[in-house]
């Protein structure tokens, strides 16, 4: 690799200045001549039969250009990328509060509102099915006619769990409950649809997967994908909540019908009521160990409320089961995974895909186990932790796993774990202080057996400037920065010479979704591969011009270097000469995630094989009179493999921990009979700056040996995963009482204390 200093440095993201000064344009900022405002009509009932749907009056309103019902969709009305079972516009039955009934496009907001009001719908309210446990029972009725309420039921077993349980010295058995959680991205979902003169459709989409959006839009319009173009403008966050396409399809349908540009942006309330939430889980878990604390078996049964449609439920449960054993050596494991349809909110992808729920369970179990055995939480984790070469219960052999124990030790050192008792456990009569840790693993990539590839187009111009076309959506996580760094590094130019075009399906090849912490690996490698022939051309010209052997030539910082000394020839000059001679300066790079050919057979389907390890330790202060928990300190030690952009890595950790603190303590959608009661950021309580302590972070760089550019692994998901169990374990340490439900609100902590005075500190 040629070093131009771009990789591994704290660099400014391309576009950062535009973002902070308000110049960057997001979907709601886009405006086109003749553009209409699109809106959707929703049912006031969580479940209802549509007896009559009459849009005649709405169509008569001056300024209303298009009113669509299911009958007006030219292509498929069912969408979702994996299993298309959700209607774009309801045909006869509303199955949750976010089911859209009709779509309108009008000259302005008020006219669009008037059109919605003028739509005549007669609903026959139906009794909804809102309790997943009841929905599993015989005679519960069907949420979706003709389909079993049990959307998925899979069990994975390895080893002999029954024998292991029988021989165990200690068993911990608990039931955990987690909540619906909201992504709360800064920018709500949206899209702007445009129709070309020849009937093709272009959609600006706030999304994570432009090429997959294109597939879904084409399917809904009944057009070939070649006639649909998806462009990503700046995107204000996603966290999995924009993995699936929703309103961008409606924007395309409306534009197609109106033959005019249509902008459709969800309001905040609409966004909270309609998009997928983190799955609420009910998990019964048994963990067994020997007298000296070695794990013998894990047996768990998870039931999730999926809402009426599939979304990413299969994927989320798959990852939950893959990680329920934690970063530990577990030989005997049984995981039963059940997804249930209800008339509650839809659920899907959210940073970590089921791994945060799993970690809350397995890391709580570890601390309960440690207490029962009288062991130190650090000790029991080090004793059972995986390492390089460990074969896990999924059949995967950990290729690089030193970070599991290294992150535990480093985090313990940073927190002062061994000296923690020296700081007061009871700083005031009503206050108790405690410390808790959680250590986790999370895979990067789609998982073996699933398509996991990306391609990019790279071109150097005669002035040495570089344009990179990538289909990887940048939702703010910074993939554009990383790809620019990698392109600059491998072509020997300054990062400022590289222009990464925001993902546009008409220009860039498919990179797959920006999810599963995968883009640094797949698109990153694609850039490295694309750079090879261009670099060859430049060095070929340089060798010809200087007469120096190629192996003594290096491109760095926009200049040729001979034997490490800067030469007069610039990369721009080399580019001009290369083009004059007809050497190629453009290239496609393609990469598919690699798996070792000699690896043993993996028994858990779609297992990931590149792991982000990390440990977080929280120090909390519990107010025993109110139950309120303050996170006083939080240490986060993460393994990102080689860091391409350290600023991005630390930013992901900070953001993940902040989101994790909300998940742990305050965030919870309150849903009654299918209706979300707190569909606003006034009542859905996300943490503010004062709720986040100054984070103490460190990043271990344990390069991934296979399939990652320079050894990078991705870091997007792991930071949120250990936060909630670390805080849970710190509360347990502080008050001596365990909690088994998220979020751990003040009221729940107080109930755990039974409104009795706090126990004296240990």
């Amino acid at each position: 690799m040629i070093d131009s200093g771009a990789v591994g440095r704290w660099v400014s993201a391309p576009g950062a200045y535009d973002i902070v000064t308000g110049k960057a344009r997001y979907c709601p900022d886009l405006d086109f001549p003749g553009m209409l405002i699109g809106k959707l009509l929703y049912s006031p009932h969580a479940r209802a039969c549509i007896r009559r749907l009459d849009v005649t009056a709405a169509r008569m309103i001056p300024g209303v250009i298009a009113v669509l019902t299911h009958a007006d969709i030219p292509g498929e009305n069912s969408y979702l990328y994996a299993e298309p079972d959700q209607p774009l516009l309801v045909v006869d039955e509303v199955r949750f509060q976010g089911d859209a009934v009709a779509a309108v496009a009008a000259i302005d907001e008020q006219t669009a509102d008037a059109a919605l009001r003028a739509i005549d719908v007669e609903y026959q309210a139906l009794d909804g099915i809102f309790d997943p446990l009841a929905a599993m029972q015989a005679g519960a009725g069907q949420v979706v006619a003709g389909k079993d309420n049990i959307m998925m039921h899979k069990t994975y077993r390895t080893g002999d769990v029954a024998a292991a349980l029988a021989s165990a010295h200690v068993i911990v058995e608990n039931t955990y409950r987690t909540q619906w959680a909201e992504h709360a991205f800064l920018e709500t979902e949206g899209g702007v649809g445009l129709v070309d003169a020849d009937g093709g459709v272009t959609v600006y989409s706030s999304c994570q997967a432009p090429h997959r959006d294109r597939m879904q839009i084409a399917r809904a319009l009944g057009l070939p994908e070649s006639r649909v173009r998806v462009i990503t403008p700046y995107i204000g966050g996603a966290f999995g909540g924009k993995d699936e396409a929703h309103v961008q399809i409606h924007a395309a349908l409306l534009a197609h019908a109106a033959r005019r540009p249509v902008r459709l942006i969800r309001g905040r309330r609409e966004s909270i009521l309609t998009h997928v939430k983190r799955h609420p889980f009910i998990v019964h878990c048994i963990t067994a160990a020997t007298r000296d604390g070695r794990l013998l078996a894990v047996k768990a049964r998870a039931i999730v409320d999926a809402g009426p449609y599939s979304n990413a439920t299969h994927e989320v449960l798959n990852k939950f089961g893959e990680f329920i054993g934690g970063p530990y050596t577990v030989k005997n494991l049984e995981i039963e995974k059940i997804a249930v349809r209800t008339n509650n909110p839809i659920t899907g992808a959210f940073r970590g895909f089921g791994a945060p729920q799993a970690a809350f369970v397995y890391e709580s179990q570890m601390d309960d186990l440690a207490r029962k055995l009288g062991m130190d939480p650090l000790e029991i984790r080090l004793l059972n932790g995986v390492d390089t070469g460990t074969r896990m219960y999924t059949g995967v052999v950990v290729r690089e796993g030193k970070a599991m124990k290294a992150s535990l030790r480093r985090a313990a050192e940073m927190m002062g774990w061994q000296q923690r008792g020296e700081l007061g456990r009871q700083p005031a009569t009503h206050l108790r202080r405690g410390w808790g840790m959680a250590t986790i693993l999370k895979g990067s990539g789609m998982g073996r057996g699933l398509p996991d590839h990306a391609a990019v187009l790279l071109e150097m111009h005669r002035d040495g400037s570089v344009v990179l076309q990538s289909g990887a959506a940048d939702m703010g996580q910074g993939i554009v920065t990383v790809l620019a760094q990698l392109a600059a590094e491998s072509l020997g130019v300054e990062m400022s010479s590289v222009h990464v075009v925001r993902a546009d399906t008409a220009q860039a090849p498919d990179a797959g979704a920006s999810c599963a912490s995968r883009q640094v690996m797949v698109s990153g490698n694609a850039v490295l591969r694309a750079a090879v022939p261009i670099r060859d051309s430049l060095l070929q010209v340089a060798a010809e011009k200087t007469g120096v052997a190629r192996d003594r030539l290096v491109l760095h910082g926009g200049r040729l270097h001979v034997d490490g000394q800067a030469h007069d020839l610039t990369v721009a000059e080399l580019a001009r000469r290369a083009l004059f001679r007809g050497y190629p300066l453009q290239s496609e790079g393609r990469y598919e995630l690699e798996y070792p050919a000699d690896a043993p057979e993996v028994t858990y389907r779609y297992s990931q094989e590149v792991f982000q390890f990390c440990t977080q330790i929280a120090q909390v202060l519990v107010d025993c009179e109110t139950g309120q928990v303050a996170v006083e300190r939080l240490v986060a030690v993460h393994d990102a493999g080689k860091m391409i952009n350290p600023g991005g890595v630390y930013g992901q950790i900070e953001g993940g921990v902040a989101q994790g603190i909300g998940y742990a303590l305050t965030e919870e959608l309150r849903v009654t009979e299918g209706h979300t009661l707190n569909a606003s950021l006034e009542n859905y309580v996300i943490p503010m700056a004062l709720d986040i302590p100054e984070l103490e972070m460190d990043v271990l760089e344990m390069p991934e040996p296979l399939g990652a550019p320079l050894g990078a692994k991705g870091i997007a998901e792991s930071p949120i995963i250990p936060t909630a169990p670390a805080i849970r374990n710190a509360i347990l340490d502080a008050i001596g009482r365990p909690l088994y439900q998220l979020p751990m609100t003040a009221e729940r902590v107080l109930s755990a204390l039974d409104a009795a005075p706090c126990a004296d500190p240990a």
Partner: protein
């Protein structure tokens, strides 16, 4: 705001209103009179189709969310009387109804004389909100969870009202009559809130409970003010105001009376706590169950009283 915004758990949802989820506002008339008489005339003319605009931090949100339907906003910020902020150590403090929070806490004399009031005004929203939002607006919005009202109650504030029938005064604890409703009659508007001068050896403290550390609506709020004797061992007078535990912020006379019944002690404070708990009639909503609120009001009253005594003794 809380009570207006959300139905309590288990309450039958008004499903018709969940139909439209847009954030757009309808067109509305705006006027900015220069005198109290003009403002009163406009309000009298339009009745409940008009409402006062001061900082706008509640009313604009309510209009946007279709929680209020109006034809006219009467901006009072051009009227001298409602912008008045004067402090006289002998006569007390006058807070014009449209004076934003920041003007109060940035005034060093006021901050020194009324630390309990400063507790409350610096908890309203965040810094940006405090630069617009007024104490008068907080009071007229009549949220049971308003942060400044329990403290105004504890500080014995008086409301000065102008209207077609001439000026009148009301003790602040009688100003709010129900969630979102006040004692203002047709055509009337709040002009100022007057606080008596702080007495010797007095102290006050306000605190609230919210699920996070800033910018949130009180689950429970409690304000206390005490006047101690020369030796600072006995309480001569005390007033306790609590918020978010009843349809309106409450004065709890029994809690205040309990504190003036002998030498100050934990047992005496506990009597005040019991009185406050007895007076609280909270509801359950998504921010807390009635039972939890009842528990919290005790905790907060104890801490508010302790804080007020501490300040009185520090002086």
């Amino acid at each position: 705001m809380l009570w207006l915004a959300e139905p309590p758990l288990g309450h039958k949802l008004n499903k018709a209103k969940t139909h439209l989820w847009d954030d757009s506002m309808k067109d509305i008339d705006y006027t900015a009179p220069r005198t109290l008489a003009e403002a009163a005339a406009l309000l009298n003319d339009k009745g409940d189709r008009a409402r006062i605009l001061a900082g706008g931090t509640d009313i604009i949100v309510q209009l946007r969310e279709h929680r209020r339907d109006l034809d006219l906003l009467v901006d009072v910020k051009n009227i001298a009387e409602v912008n008045e902020l004067t402090f006289d150590p002998a006569r007390g403090l006058r807070i014009g109804a449209a004076v934003p929070c920041y003007r109060i806490y940035e005034n060093k004399d006021i901050a020194k004389a009324y630390p309990g009031l400063i507790d409350a005004v610096s908890l309203v929203g965040g810094v940006q909100i405090q630069s617009r939002a007024s104490v008068g607006g907080n009071l007229c919005n009549a949220s049971p969870a308003a942060d400044t009202t329990p403290m105004l109650i504890a500080l014995e504030a008086t409301c000065h009202i102008a209207g077609p029938q001439g000026p009148r005064q009301l003790p602040v604890e009688t100003f709010c009559t129900a969630p979102g409703r006040t004692a203002l009659e047709r055509g009337e508007l709040l002009v100022s809130i007057d606080l008596p001068a702080p007495k010797p050896h007095s102290g006050a403290h306000y605190l609230r409970f919210i699920p996070r550390n800033e910018m949130d609506i009180a689950v429970v709020g409690a304000g206390a003010s005490v006047v101690l004797d020369d030796k600072k061992q006995k309480c001569l007078a005390a007033r306790i105001g609590v918020g978010a535990v009843a349809p309106t912020p409450l004065l709890v006379p029994d809690a205040g009376a309990a504190l003036v019944d002998g030498a100050l002690s934990d047992a005496l404070i506990d009597k005040a706590v019991q009185a406050a708990r007895a007076a609280a009639k909270p509801i359950s909503d998504m921010r807390g169950t009635a039972e939890y609120r009842k528990h919290l009001v005790g905790v907060l009253v104890k801490r508010a009283v302790q804080g007020a005594i501490h300040r009185a003794r520090e002086k």
